[in-house]
Assembly symmetry: C2
Homo-oligomer: 721 residues x 2
């Protein structure tokens, strides 16, 4: 169903109920660009840390507009044994809703626009009929403006009619040059009071003059008048004065109140859909969804980049606002929510850890089909994880085409007639991919099951892991826990003159056999050697070099960490007290806090010295700004093991799932899946193995003697793009 | 005629000949936004200097995209006694033309997009079928790439086929890991040479591998082979090798050369239209055209903002490029032109003076219909100078609807059915407005003339003066001379805490009667007093104020000037030697240099001490970076007079034109207007008068006693917006 500004209000309840009844939701976004900074290969260095990647995306991708949002809801119909889908394709555009509203600027990247154009994207629908939206701060500001007007009325200062916010602090006396004008208005109103006319239209005038009129009339005629600002067709504003009795006056004000509320809701616009998705706590499925998630939060919740500053400002305002609001019962809950949200944003939303926590608040359960398809047991079966190819492959054996039916009244998509890069269609086939892969997991059960619910524990290992494009050895960003820290002791950080090309690096390292170069910028790159023991030799030979410089990866990370600590200490000082006490309110309603806790429960007894600390899943995560230690440096084996075991995906590494004792007997109870067999996922605790071999390109000669052979590769990340 | 990427190449000759035959051209642009910085009221302060306004527009408006360009050519048909028009509406979009081409990012402003959407603008046509373009630097780079490939071929290094630019500097030996691959290719080619096949398709491979193949094959098989990179449908690149005799090889290369040239022209795209307009030297008419001119130059010639840096870089490259090009006869002229252009851009394009000079090079004759309509004798007759209203008013008496006819094959516009904000339509009615106003001037002649040509001296006073929006006392930016420097000694520059509102300023200056406030930013504003003699009193009373600070306008300008000089000295040092020697090559072909010289010729004998310097129209313009003096400070009467007289619009001030001795006998010879009566415009030398009264708002009480009354207002600028 195509949703634009024209039919948005009529559709909203349909959207709400579709979300309400769904088993899971699939989403997809289309943007006006990807990167306004470096080219994509620099944006996605193969040896980025998750934090680096997040920072780059935040810096270089958030000024684009998410202008099409696809939502497809999937509800399983037991009787029909098939999913009923409701696909929505929303067109989004920040149309300014009035003269004081923010005038959003966004960047377009010609390559992205050209690509969408070649796919038949309808830009007119976006720009002419896109649904507006507000983020949380803009919404709060608008509510505050509305509230201020109401307060003025309640205190008898003015009517609830419009007073321009910029002039609201003005002096209450009438300046000399306006006295004539105001006196004439008063004369006209006095005439109105005694003649038979019901209303009086004044000439269009300035905002300042209107303010003076309001003040004067309120003071001179406290009763019996209704004063309102009206706009002509030419957008000129003038004041209309009506004689009214008290009842009529109240009726009009009630009308005005309702109209204001409706306008406010209209302005919040599409954000209400995102709020509904968030509040539902349902599983949200996406394909390669990191940018979708970042953009959604950035656009409809709070801007990612300047969040520290924005929310500091916001904080001061919120406190003030809250004090005013507490007198208004129906605002109280909203205000409380906002204050909590603010403190949360303010103290937490600084780096990737903060992003993870906000993400968990907004989308408590995420699943990335690209990550799923790149993981055992699918990675052996799926050669190309791009959405279109994945969808095709999942129609073939050993997978089964999922049984789906489009709900009545929704136009049905035909997967044979590809409509790729329409967000609604992409969301739809992302959902299909998820169903096909989830059901495939059911074939490993004894007895096999043809249908696996979105609530099944079988898919839990894939929760909240967002695919990381083109990172060689870190397949995903782990939203609910610490990220993988692969060994990178075969990696060198090399700086050199900007004239150097890849071939210069090949030449420099020609003595060390196969290398892989990951460019960082014009004057630096990572060079991965095939054998770790060559690192020291390379370091030694470079000692007296003048044109270039070599550091180990550990030294490089340490340098960056120290840089960061310096900055962090400056900014945050001793404010770290709030950090560990955060609780996520929106998730608890769905028993998710329990689930999350379970999914990150530690493998007790597997670790040695770390046992005492492991009381929650977060204890191993390094907070550089609170502890000041350098836990990020290349991990020793024990540390890696401890971190990895907590991801609880042990079963993924067993290539034959039917052998897994934890899975075969698991009753896949869709009704209350969270409660059953809480101990199951403690099985299969083979630690997650890093894959030092993946840095080699296909087509390069493999040297059988290399050190990587000693650690068997159980989870190998395919090279994408 | 609507022109998109689809029909662009077919239309180009039509466009060229329309420009060629035209008497004048009208243009209009539509942009993706207006200001990405301050809001419009801060962007257009009523007391900006022309330089300040230009700097603000440059900084805050150049990142938007000019995505629709309207061009309407007007050719007078003597027989029919009417203009034949050819309107074109070009859709423009920087579609990347290949993988190494610039990926342009541009900003969209939601209010502007929303406005265009409400006017029925077709964004799909822009984004899906917009004509690409290149600016001069991009074009030069592309030519350089092409040239490099050709050179490699000429020197026998490679075939003219594609070699990726990034790999072109690589080492020439085959790295160890590619030796197997290359050896296999050589084996295959050896087989090809002896078997009956004509061509051999290799597997798709990387750019580096393709480069190795080219090098190896050129070395091993210098003759009898044609090697070419071909792209599959999936955009994978592979190498195709064909056995050819020498003749066939040459034929293929000639084909390739022609294809390259065509691709290059395609990439330059819409810029070719602008180049044709520029080369024609024809009068270019626009309505409120400053932003149109700035955008056109910025987008199709050279970026305005970072020009110093870009062209420094460019300079080094150009020199290198030129040295290579001199061996290629047909590039030589082009290269010379580029080098001249570069030096010109590099040394001149720093501030508003540089902008003026570039503008004169690109558009040697401009006329702004908004400025014309705001000037005597039109300003008394025209109440609203917005394009739509102007067009309507010029249909009524005393004006006459111009006689126009759309050329055969062009869809005709109906002015009754307004298609405003379609650039082609806006250009068309801008042309109509110009014709109506020009013809009106003919009614003052004895005998009156119904038709006034675009080459008539009657319109020369309006040449090259671009309307300045919302500046109280400077109606236009004077492209061919120094700008007006109105007396602003009734203006105060006030700084204050950011909490202050307009009402605080009214209160502060309540003792001084009427004031007008022009906000600069949160903490500063200009305050214009109604009487100059009050300035000193205001200054005295503020001496001990702590919360605010008052400076005279002269002090303010002096401070800014000093600031600028400091920066300029740092950047430019003693490099000013090139400044005065610039000559504009493109204009001379049309005798324009003479015309320009004439139109800015000084009124000799009118000035006193300055006589000796006045050998060209530029001598009075202050170059702060070369002279180091502070000529910008508030002008004394004599200086003002000297500057103003050079604008040679004296006749404009005589309200009854028929009284002007210089005009009535002037033979309006359309054939050779530049040559006749060169002395005529030296008449009517009443100095341009400033209008100290215009800073008062309508609706304010007029105090009859104010000092402004002493200088009669002959040219009063209407308040716009």
């Amino acid at each position: 169903m195509e949703v634009t500004r024209k039919n948005y209000k009529d559709c909203l309840n349909t959207v709400y109920s579709a979300i309400e009844e769904a088993d899971f939701l699939a989403i997809d976004g289309e943007f006006s660009g990807i990167s306004d900074g470096p080219n994509v290969s620099a944006l996605t260095n193969g040896l980025d840390t998750p934090e680096e990647r997040y920072t780059k995306l935040k810096k270089h991708s958030m000024d684009f507009l998410l202008f099409q949002f696809g939502l497809c809801t999937f509800k399983y119909d037991q009787a029909k044994s098939k999913y009923i889908t409701k696909p929505f394709n929303f067109y989004i555009f920040p149309k300014p809703f009035n003269r004081t509203s923010p005038d959003i600027k966004f960047i377009c990247q010609s390559s992205s626009i050209d690509f969408l154009a070649s796919q038949g994207f309808d830009f007119n629908k976006v720009f002419c009929h896109g649904i507006p939206y507000l983020n949380q701060e803009e919404e709060a500001q608008l509510r505050e403006q509305t509230e201020e007007r109401r307060n003025q009325h309640a205190n008898g200062v003015g009517t609830p009619s419009f007073i321009s916010p910029s002039s609201s602090k003005g002096s209450s006396h009438v300046p000399e040059e306006h006295k004539d004008f105001i006196n004439k208005v008063v004369e006209k109103v006095e005439a109105l009071m005694v003649n038979s006319e019901k209303t009086l239209d004044l000439e269009p005038c300035t905002g300042f003059q209107r303010k003076l009129i309001y003040q004067t009339l309120n003071w001179k005629f406290p009763k019996g008048l209704h004063v309102e600002t009206v706009e002509t067709e030419k957008k000129e504003r003038y004041i209309q004065i009506s004689k009214v009795d008290e009842e009529e006056r109240k009726r009009r004000e009630q009308q005005k109140l309702e109209k204001e509320q409706e306008e406010l809701n209209d302005a919040v616009g599409f954000s209400r859909v995102i709020h509904a998705i968030s509040k539902s706590g349902k599983l949200v499925v996406g394909h390669n969804m990191l940018l979708d998630v970042m953009h959604t939060i950035h656009q409809f919740y709070c801007p990612l980049p300047e969040v520290c500053f924005a929310y500091f400002k916001y904080g001061a305002k919120m406190h003030f606002r809250y004090k005013k609001w507490q007198f208004h019962a129906w605002y109280e809950m909203y205000a409380l929510f906002k204050v909590v949200l603010f403190f949360f944003f303010f103290f937490f939303f600084k780096d990737i850890q903060d992003f993870k926590e906000v993400t968990m608040c907004v989308f408590p359960r995420l699943l990335d089909t690209k990550l799923m398809a790149s993981t055992q047991p699918f990675k052996e079966l799926i050669t190309n994880t791009s959405l279109a190819e994945l969808e095709k492959q999942l129609k073939e054996s050993p997978f089964k085409s999922p049984q789906v039916e489009t709900a009545e009244g929704f136009p049905s998509y035909d997967t044979a007639q590809e409509q790729l890069h329409e967000a609604g269609y992409d969301a739809y086939i992302t959902g299909l991919c998820f169903i096909a892969m989830a059901n495939y997991l059911g074939s490993f059960l004894t007895p096999p099951k043809a249908y696996i619910s979105a609530r099944s524990k079988l898919i839990e290992p894939f929760f909240n892991k967002l695919f990381l494009m083109r990172i060689i050895d870190i397949p995903y960003l782990n939203i609910t826990g610490p990220d993988l820290q692969p060994k990178r002791d075969h990696v060198l950080y090399v700086t050199f003159p900007k004239e150097w090309k890849t071939s210069d690096l090949y030449q420099l390292f020609s003595a060390f056999g196969n290398i892989q170069v990951s460019w960082i910028d014009d004057t630096s790159a990572f060079v991965s050697l095939s054998q770790t023991d060559q690192v020291q030799i390379a370091m030694n030979t470079s000692r007296y070099a003048e044109s270039y410089k070599i550091q180990t990866y550990a030294e490089y990370i340490q340098g960056k960490q120290q840089e960061k600590e310096k900055q962090t200490t400056k900014t945050w000082g001793e404010d770290s007290w709030v950090k560990p006490h955060y609780t996520c309110s929106t998730t608890s309603a769905f028993g998710y806090s329990r689930m999350r806790k379970r999914s990150i429960s530690p493998m007790q007894g597997e670790q040695g010295a770390d046992d005492a600390q492991i009381t929650d899943g977060w204890s191993h995560y390094s907070y550089p700004d609170t502890t000041g230690t350098k836990k990020m440096k290349t991990d020793d084996a024990a540390n890696t093991k401890a971190v990895e075991s907590k991801t609880s995906e042990g079963w993924l590494k067993t290539t034959d799932l039917s052998d897994s004792p934890g899975l075969s007997p698991a009753p896949d109870d869709e009704k209350s899946p969270e409660g059953t067999n809480p101990g199951n996922d403690a099985d299969g605790t083979v630690p997650w193995q890093q894959t030092p071999t993946v840095h080699k390109r296909k087509g390069q000669k493999k040297k059988k003697s290399e050190g990587a052979e000693s650690t068997p590769t159980l989870f190998e990340v395919p090279e994408v793009w």
